[in-house]
Symmetry: C2
Subunit: 336 residues, 2 copies
DNA sequence: ATAATTTCTGCAATCGTTTGCGGTTGCAAT
DNA sequence: ATTGCAACCGCAAACGATTGCAGAAATTAT
């Protein structure tokens, strides 16, 4: 009952038959007599035999495992995506291997390599913020392991993508704020090269122009975390008298600025209206409840793995990258 | 550049040497001449050789992977634990395999078995709410795979545990509320058999008695989610006039009841003081900012895997289970 | 020149499983 | 009695890497 787990050979030895027969019996191969089969089955159950997944994987050249690399698991959006992925994987008997890049390029590279070493059947990736060199992704293509990007993808590469319509989301929010009477809308944007943030910002800018409002670049602040909002406190309070709306690139910074403004005596939504992006659970908990764009993380996760499984099952030579864009919706609450 | 990844045999063939020599060269074995070694190294790099982790694992009877089973990844507390686990694992070159039980017993069993099938070197587990049968844990012991429980553990089993001092946490909160003048404190408890919740409740009850306040069992409500708080709205509002404090078993229900009470016109903390448990990031975002017990998830994750690694490295026959209990601290904010 | 030693490399078994192919039964048909 | 054909089972190679042991080559000692 201790030591190494039972193998197929142990069963063979105990029953005086060959390992091949045991293997076939356990696999319900028709060549094996009902008698032998049942003896094997019975004994296997008795000693709690379980196949060695490593050996099976080695033999079959695949591991029944799919790899997931995400920036940070603590973000609710990514957690929900993982739940969606796991949901499908579980129903199909697939294992899921999750790694975090922690928004670090080197870690992303190492994680991806480790996944390939483990012969994962496919990869699901949302790239880290500071990934510019894409050679590790190219390596994945070359090794013929299907890979699907979700939410954050390298635009330079022609790949399968599961994404959110961030542009549309940015438009929805901005349109909504304008409809509510806002004429001077501050946008809290993400720093640097994050495409999703850039798209939201583009949606904002486009809508401003479409509405024939004056587009003021000074109304865009690189400020995408609670900390950064508080760090920019002076700057924000200096602008506050001249704005009547805020569109934050995510819910946390939306709430941060909401608190900051309220603490400074501004009424929300009366004086200034605020909206976020993501529909974090926190959005419906804070007061005033935050208007925000709903992102369908769970559905995205499901879609991503389903698309991946299709790629795995049909390793077609003629690869035509596909993009699945999830539509968003605006959840209007009390902050606007 | 496509098809199956390069193996050690491919290198051997190409260089006209044996696979064993290649293996030794890559492993810096002293038997191999500097010349041969460098030729192998060079060629391996050129064709981007990477060892097949499945084969290595099969040979060595371990996978350099540790398995983690948690109830739900979307809970911030568990996410931080995972981050702590990954932090250490990453620094040691270990892979981490994460599965969610979704608070479902069957899924927990299947996940654990899958981990064992993959020959994980060790297991880190936080058991699901509805796990009563413990035979799958016993199987792990019998297979000699080290296992450490974190946060939620089966009290019937003598195992290694990394836990929070929930009892002390419950006391801290209750003492604090009493010090602030509360005399009639409602406790929102977790349903049924969750030990961590029971401990917090025990801390509450003990403190009430120690303070010579009357302990009223009617002041304990099984209500541990936002939804359940709202479902119990009538009941809570009926009690509200007679209470002056609330200790919720977690932050989400604390915030839910805070909102519910405020919507009904109660002043927090003036009329009723509220405190939670866990120190979810949301606690410092909501208004009023929530007083709550800080749980050190990241540290717990680190400690758990460190303890596991020690168990893996010293597979001592004389097993003496250890419990590491993390002390908690109270973060006093505006809600109390 | 032979023996002893060092230095390097290869053979083959092994980890646990799968599977093509061939072999051994038994039984019915001829 | 021979052939034919199922039905059932085992041999051995493979997947990719590791490693004890033996052996070859080169070097040194005698």
């Amino acid at each position: 009952m201790k030591g190494a787990p039972a193998s197929i050979n142990d069963i063979a030895r105990a029953l005086g038959i060959s390992a091949s027969t045991v293997s076939r019996a356990l696999g319900n191969h028709p060549d094996i007599s009902a008698d032998t089969r049942s003896r094997v089955m019975e004994y296997a159950k008795a000693i709690k035999y379980r196949p060695n997944a490593l050996a099976v994987g080695l033999k079959h050249q695949r591991s029944n495992t799919i790899g997931v690399v995400i920036p940070e698991i603590i973000h609710h959006f990514f957690s929900t995506i993982i739940s969606g992925i796991e949901e499908v994987a579980y129903s199909k008997g697939l294992r899921v291997m999750i790694c975090q890049s922690n928004e670090d390029y080197n870690r992303e590279v190492i994680n991806i390599r480790a996944m390939l070493d483990h012969r994962v059947d496919g990869l699901l990736i949302s790239q880290s913020k500071d990934t510019n060199d894409l050679s590790h992704f190219v390596e994945v293509f070359e090794s013929n392991v299907p890979i699907i990007f979700f939410d954050r993808f390298p635009s330079e590469l022609e790949t399968d993508r599961i994404i959110t319509d961030d542009f549309q989301g940015g438009k929805l929010v901005t349109q909504h704020l304008i409809e509510r009477g806002c004429r001077s809308i501050l946008h809290l944007a993400t720093s640097e090269n994050l495409l999703v943030g850039a798209e939201r910002c583009r949606g904002y800018a486009d809508t401003i122009r479409e509405a024939a409002l004056t587009f003021d670049p000074n109304l865009i602040l690189l400020c995408d975390t609670q900390q950064k909002v508080y760090a920019a406190k002076e700057q924000i309070l200096a602008m506050a008298p001249h704005i009547d709306g805020v569109f934050a690139v995510n819910d946390l910074s939306a709430i941060a600025i909401m608190n900051l403004l309220m603490d400074a005596g501004y009424q929300i939504p009366d004086t200034i209206k605020v909206a976020g992006f993501g529909d974090d659970p926190i959005a419906s908990i804070v007061r005033p409840r935050l208007t925000t764009v709903e992102q369908k993380g769970f559905m995205m996760g499901k879609k991503a793995i389903e698309m991946l499984l299709e790629r795995i099952e049909n390793p077609t030579s003629s690869f035509v990258p596909r993009t699945y864009k999830f539509q968003v919706s605006l959840n209007m609450r009390d902050s606007s």
